[in-house]
Every structure is written in C-alpha cells, then in structure tokens.
C-alpha cells in the first residue's frame, strides 16, 4: 500500500501536467487531425462504442465535433499553465475522452493512448503544483504510480492479447511482414527480406512486453535505462512502420525524475546568463 502512495516532489507532477496538456493541444491540431474529419463523415458509418451506447452520446455531426475541438483546445492550453488544476483538468479529461470515443467509433480502435487517458484522469486529483515545488506529496505519488502502471499494463496486456488472439504462433507468424507491406518505410523494406530477422524481432517484442513489469523492481539507475529502452523501442517501431505511439510516450515521462532534469536545465541557463553578464576581458 505504501508503494501505491510513495510520495514524489510536487514539481514532478507539475512538469508532467504541462507536458500532458500541451500534448493534448498538439494532438488535436497536429497528430490526430483525422478525428476532426469524422464530423464530415456520414452518420451511417458511425459504429458507436459500448460506452457511447450506454451513455447515449449523440451521433457526431459537424457542430458537435467543431465545438469539442475548440473548447478542448482552449481548455488544454489553459490547463497547461497549471491554473485551476481541478476544473480545467476534469474538463480536459471529459472532453478528450469524448473526442477519443468519436475517434474510435468508425470501425477502428487504437491502443496507443490508454496510459495517456489515465494521466488525464489522475492529474486533476493532484491539486495545485508548481514547477519549482519540491515538497513530497502522496497525492502526486499515487497519480504518477497510476500512469506508470498504465504504461506497463499497455505492454504486458498487449502481449497477453497477442497470446489470446494469435497464440504462441504469433511469434513465428508474419505480423511484421504484413505491417511493413502495408505501412513500412524504405528502411523497413530494405531489411524485411533478411532471413529470420522479422521472426527474431517478433520473439523479442513478446519477451520485452512480457517482462516489462520488472521495471518496478529495478533500482532507480536501471529503471531510467529501461525507460530509455522503452523509448528506443518506439523509435525503431516508428522508423520501420511509422507507428508512433506518441501519447504513450508522453505518459512514459511519469517514470522520470522530471524535476531534476528541470533543475539541471535552469542551472545551465543561469550559468550562461551569468557568463554573459560579466563583460569579457
């Protein structure tokens, strides 16, 4: 139980909050612009998800989609400043969740943002937090732990889903060859013909996903290295089949001592300024 509430400096959650809300705004405008296009798609192609049916959410039309887009954009940018963390935080969570329901209700569901949704859901519970605030907080600790658990669950349960749908044969199948043919980069097409390489990569992916929970038992130094490995895994995936998992990568920040990185940056900026202030010679 202590582990679930292990306190972390408030500054860490403040920095994560800024990153998450800025990303929300960027995601709307730059990374998933196709969600907005659903406003101009015929209502007949709308296949509402279970949650949309239970909550009787309206069929998205142009007005609804445009309204959510602009209100969510404004709320996310305002929330990134750290003001009114509860009011703005819950607003962003609810609107982004509805935005994702609209996104996934046209025959295709993505699995790249579970941890990001969890981050949006827990950030409002942390209350006020400033970048420079170093006071340890249990509320911040629980929130970060939730995001971490969601990140690892995404890996571990993705392996579980592979075993459920594909079985162990998934590892010796042709899922990567198929992905490369459909959306591979030139680099991927170049290496795809190497014998057994894609099969080895599939075994590697399964092994990495199944062992990902070990990140919780490692000492901090190793934990950071494992997180670096997670990031490099997504970099390779992106360079091969252009799948970025960007929202997940933002959630991954919850593993890192962000406030220490921020301290280092501000220290460097201070030194540079000092040097400039002293006239040369």
């Amino acid at each position: 139980m202590k582990w679930l509430f292990a306190p972390v400096p408030r500054g860490r959650v403040a920095l994560l909050r800024t990153a998450v809300y800025l990303f929300t705004a960027l995601d709307l405008v730059v990374f998933t612009p196709w969600v907005r296009a659903h406003g101009s798609v015929d209502g007949e192609l709308y296949q509402p998800l279970w949650i949309a049916r239970v909550l009787h959410l309206p069929v998205p039309d142009s007005l609804l989609v445009q309204s959510i887009f602009w209100v969510l954009l404004a709320a996310a940018l305002a929330a990134a400043t750290g003001r009114a963390p509860r009011l703005l935080g819950w607003t962003v969570f609810l609107l982004y969740f509805e935005w994702m329901i609209i996104a996934m209700s046209y025959g295709k569901v993505d699995h790249d943002r579970f941890a990001f949704l969890v981050a949006l859901a827990v950030l409002p519970t942390c209350g006020a937090a400033r970048w420079r605030d170093r006071e340890p907080s249990e509320r911040a600790g629980w929130a970060l732990r939730m995001v971490q658990l969601a990140v690892v669950a995404t890996y571990f349960l993705a392996a579980w889903a592979k075993l459920r749908y594909g079985g162990p044969e998934w590892m010796t199948g042709s899922v990567l060859a198929r992905a490369i043919l459909r959306r591979g980069t030139e680099l991927a097409h170049l290496i795809a013909p190497v014998p057994y390489l894609l099969i080895l990569a599939q075994i590697g992916i399964m092994a990495f996903e199944l062992t990902s929970p070990l990140v919780f038992v490692l000492p901090e130094k190793w934990r950071t290295r494992v997180v670096a490995f997670f990031y490099s895994f997504h970099l390779v995936t992106f360079s091969m089949i252009t799948i970025s998992f960007l929202p997940h990568l933002v959630a991954l920040l919850a593993f890192l001592p962000l406030e220490r990185a921020a301290d280092r940056v501000s220290e460097r900026v201070r030194r540079v300024r000092q040097r400039r202030a002293v006239p040369a010679g």
Binding site: W34, Q47, F114, A161, K162, Y165, E169
Partner: protein, 147 residues
C-alpha cells in the same frame, strides 16, 4: 510532506482496483467495443508465415474516366476504418455511396465520381518475408447514381 486522509486513500485504492478489474476483464473477455478497457490487440492477429498480406484501398473513376485515389485526405476516413467496414461494403456495395458523399463534401469542385471500388491488394509472403509479388482483387463495386 503532504499526506492524505484515510478516506482519500480509500477512494484512490478503490479507483485503482476498479480500473484494474475493468482492464483485466477487457483483456480476457472484452473486445474493441469496450474501449478504453478493451484488449490491446493492435497487431495481435494470427498471421501464418505464408499468408498473403491484405492492403485495401478505395478508388473511384471520375466523369473524365480518370482513376481517383480515395484516401484519408479525400474522404476523411482512415484506411483502417475503411477496412473495419469491409464486410458491410462487400455485403451491400451501395454503402459505398457514403464514401462518394464524403468525397463530394470535402472536394466540392472535383469532377463527379461515376464509380467507386473497394480494391484489395494481396502482397505475397513466404516464410514470414515479403516476396515483392502482389495481385489486386475488386471486392465491391458501385456505379454512382447521378442526382
């Protein structure tokens, strides 16, 4: 240090457990329909080592006889979404009308479409590796009824 009351802790433990059960249940018995708690089944399918890879696309022919690609930019629908509705298009090709509508709305000045096709390109795969060979198969075809 900022600590929490027992009630605050209990609420959070309860929320954690509920989410964990929903996610585990979704992974074990759920489907995509249960987003965000459905199974993370992206790229989890069974694809035997020699099974050809499907690469679907929508295309049309306009009034000038030119072939028009009907991709995400043209229709506002992603390829995976088109694919998700494949069975509906095949069972009832008239549903391709919705694609024409979406195209018209997004490209009001473009030449009108006279035909829309759902085309599957099958890429050959041998021992988990692509061979570079492919063949096209038209799965659904709809002649546009001009208004």
């Amino acid at each position: 240090m900022e600590t929490m009351t027992n009630a605050q802790r209990a609420t959070r433990v309860l929320a954690t457990l509920l989410a964990a059960f929903a996610l585990l249940g979704g992974t074990l018995w759920g489907s995509d329909d249960h987003f965000p708690f459905g199974p993370f089944r992206m790229y989890a399918g069974v694809n035997p080592p020699n099974e050809p890879a499907p690469d679907p696309r929508l295309e049309g022919t306009d009034a000038h006889g030119a072939t028009v690609v009907l991709g995400e930019r043209e229709t506002g629908m992603r390829r995976a979404e088109i694919e998700g509705q494949q069975d509906l298009f095949v069972a009832d090709p008239a549903r391709l009308r919705e694609v024409v509508e979406a195209y018209r709305r997004r490209n009001p000045d473009a030449a009108a479409l006279v035909e829309v096709r759902y085309v599957m390109r099958w890429h050959e795969i041998r021992t988990s590796r692509p061979t570079g060979q492919w063949r096209d198969e038209v799965l659904a075809r709809w002649q546009v009824v001009q208004p």
